[in-house]
């Protein structure tokens, strides 16, 4: 049998316990579990991804992006804008002159990262981009997007290591292939009557047109 007002007293004890625990106990024992954000932070999760950045090896000039425009084409909200760089003779270079990502449009899907065949664009941990001005401050240009491989290692060590290993393996394979080709060429030169198109591959077939 319940006495009159027993439920009220029970409820009051619950809140009193919470009140006392908030001063004297840790978050595990029913105390406050608030993380006061700007001063205190939760540790960043490695798998956390938002807003892409461009990766470079060693120096900012040495960026991996070749301005192939795949990410810009794949981007669902079309927030990436790329212009290829040309040299003095108007020959296209394998690097972007302009690479803009509009962070007001970007929806953090990560498709650019998946689409990039050159390991050049990856999702960042940079979530504190709030700004009082949206046109200039939230349109990230190339210099703002460029970040080093070391930074990538710092924020996503597992992915970065795997990618570096893969790249190193590919590099080694390419070197080996080149060495083998050179050896073959040398052997062919030594042999009489070398095949004409042995060293240079014929121009690749026209790439399928993407609309």
């Amino acid at each position: 049998m319940m006495y009159f007002g027993e439920g009220v007293v029970k409820g009051m004890m619950v809140t009193l316990k919470a009140f006392v625990a908030s001063y004297f106990k840790g978050p595990e024992d029913g105390g406050l579990f608030t993380v006061e954000y700007p001063e205190q932070r939760l540790p960043e999760k490695e798998n956390f991804r938002n807003f892409p950045f461009l990766i470079y090896d060693n120096t900012p000039d040495n960026l991996r992006c070749v301005a192939c425009d795949i990410c810009a084409k794949e981007c669902p909200p079309k927030c990436i804008y790329i212009v290829r760089e040309f040299d003095k003779d108007n020959k296209p270079l394998k690097r972007p002159a302009v690479f803009n990502i509009d962070h007001t449009v970007c929806m953090n899907c990560g498709i650019c990262e998946e689409a990039c065949p050159f390991d050049a664009i990856y999702m960042d941990h940079n979530f504190e981009i709030a700004s009082a001005e949206r046109n200039e401050n939230l349109l990230f240009r190339k210099d703002k997007l460029l970040k080093s491989n070391e930074y990538f290692h710092k924020i996503r060590p597992t992915d970065a290591t795997a990618i570096d290993e893969r790249r190193a393996a590919a590099e080694a394979k390419k070197k080996a292939a080149e060495a083998a080709a050179a050896q073959k060429a040398a052997a062919a030169q030594a042999a009489p009557k070398p095949a004409a198109p042995g060293t240079t591959t014929p121009p690749a077939a026209e790439p399928p047109k993407t609309v």
Partner: protein, 385 residues
């Protein structure tokens, strides 16, 4: 100790003495009044400001939150920031509202809240005006709050406001009666209506002979405190401003400083009602060792903490539940309590203690049983299947 106890009294006396040097003699009483008024006019709003902070902190802690802590250390400047916000906000008056009454209501509601400070004994010799009818004055003045609330509700020309005002009127009239009746035993025991005399009457046994330590005092205290909570529209009796039902009740159409004035009145009422409960039942400024005003403010803030604790715990009453509590439980119990007080003073001690506890327990039990709603037994059909 004595000097610390009388520090505010000596401060006022010092100012008066200093002023007597260069002011004509007839200004002395006027200056004395002005100092008292100034102290109260300062104490009231400052108390209100910091009660808002205290409430947010305490209720936050009860809900596993931290509460305001950004403006100043521990958020101590938060009330000032809120004040600036309130003052700079737009003052909106509904198009078809009664403009004069709409302006008048928030002013009217603050006045009684400030006036009742006059008879609160904050410490030894620290009653601003020691009226011989102090308690009556307090109850009479504080009950005029209803008029201001209803004025605000009517002047807003808003259905929700009017509903809130109706609820406020019903609630205040209902709870006024058990509240006054629960104060009667104290008046019987101290044979005075003066707040100063009531506190003096509780001075025995090193200032610990409080009325709450008697059976009738205990019951009266509980009734008085519950009614006090209902009087100042605090949770769980906050029906006149029930957000989930009628938006904000009587202050739906108020914004800016006018809205703040309603809040100021509410918080000052909760402070003065806690102060009066302290005076009547908890021995006012009586207590050993510490200065008298420390005792008074300590007890008052303990009662305010209980109010905040209610706020953090209890859900809101339904209208019929609230009315039932006042008319069917608190009112009869307070009437019984008045009789028990008479019994206590006309019978020898052992019988008085046992008898009054027995009568109160029995009447309380009977009232609770009578108030239980009838729940029919669950019917079982013997031949149903």
């Amino acid at each position: 100790m004595e000097a610390l106890d009388q520090i505010f009294v000596s401060l006022k006396q010092g100012i008066l003495n200093a002023a007597a040097g260069f002011l004509p003699a007839w200004t002395g009483p006027l200056l004395s009044v002005a100092i008292s008024i100034g102290a109260i006019a300062l104490l009231g709003p400052v108390t209100m400001m910091y009660l808002t902070l205290l409430e947010r902190k305490v209720v936050g802690r009860m809900q596993n939150r931290i509460g305001p802590n950004r403006v100043g250390k521990w958020g101590v400047l938060q009330p000032l920031a809120d004040g600036v916000k309130m003052l700079t906000k737009e003052d909106i008056v509904p198009a078809r509202a009664d403009r004069l009454l709409h302006l008048l209501a928030p002013l009217l509601i603050v006045m009684p809240a400030l006036l009742v400070f006059a008879v609160i004994p904050f410490g030894k010799h620290m009653t601003a005006v020691d009226l011989s009818v102090g308690v009556l004055y307090f109850l009479a003045i504080s009950s005029t709050t209803t008029i201001a609330i209803f004025t605000a509700a009517w002047a807003s020309r808003n259905k929700y406001s009017l509903l809130g005002g109706m609820r406020a009127a019903a609630q205040m009239i209902s709870y006024e009666i058990p509240m006054v009746l629960s104060a009667v035993p104290i008046l019987l025991a101290s044979q005075s209506l003066s707040t100063h005399a009531i506190v003096e009457a509780q001075g025995g046994f090193h200032g610990l002979q409080w009325f709450i330590f008697t059976p009738w005092g205990f019951v009266a205290f509980i009734i008085f405190f519950l009614c006090g909570v209902a009087e100042c529209n605090r949770s769980p009796f906050d029906l006149p401003e029930a957000e989930s039902e009628i938006i904000a009740g009587f202050h739906t159409e108020y914004s800016g400083m006018k809205f703040a004035l309603f809040y100021m009145a509410e918080f000052m009422n909760s402070f003065t009602l806690s102060g009066l409960a302290t005076t009547l039942f908890l021995g006012g400024w009586q207590g050993p060792f510490l200065p008298s005003w420390v005792w008074f403010f300590g007890k008052t803030y303990a009662l305010i903490f209980i109010m905040l604790w209610f706020r953090g715990t209890l859900p809101r009453f339904r209208v019929d539940q609230m009315m039932n509590l006042a008319w069917k439980l608190l009112l009869p119990l307070s009437l019984v309590n008045v009789i028990v007080t008479g019994f206590w003073f006309f019978v020898n001690p052992p019988l008085a203690i046992g008898g009054s506890i027995a009568i109160l327990w029995l009447s309380g039990w009977i009232l609770v049983r009578l108030n239980q709603s009838y729940l029919p037994e669950k019917r079982t059909y013997q031949f149903a299947d």
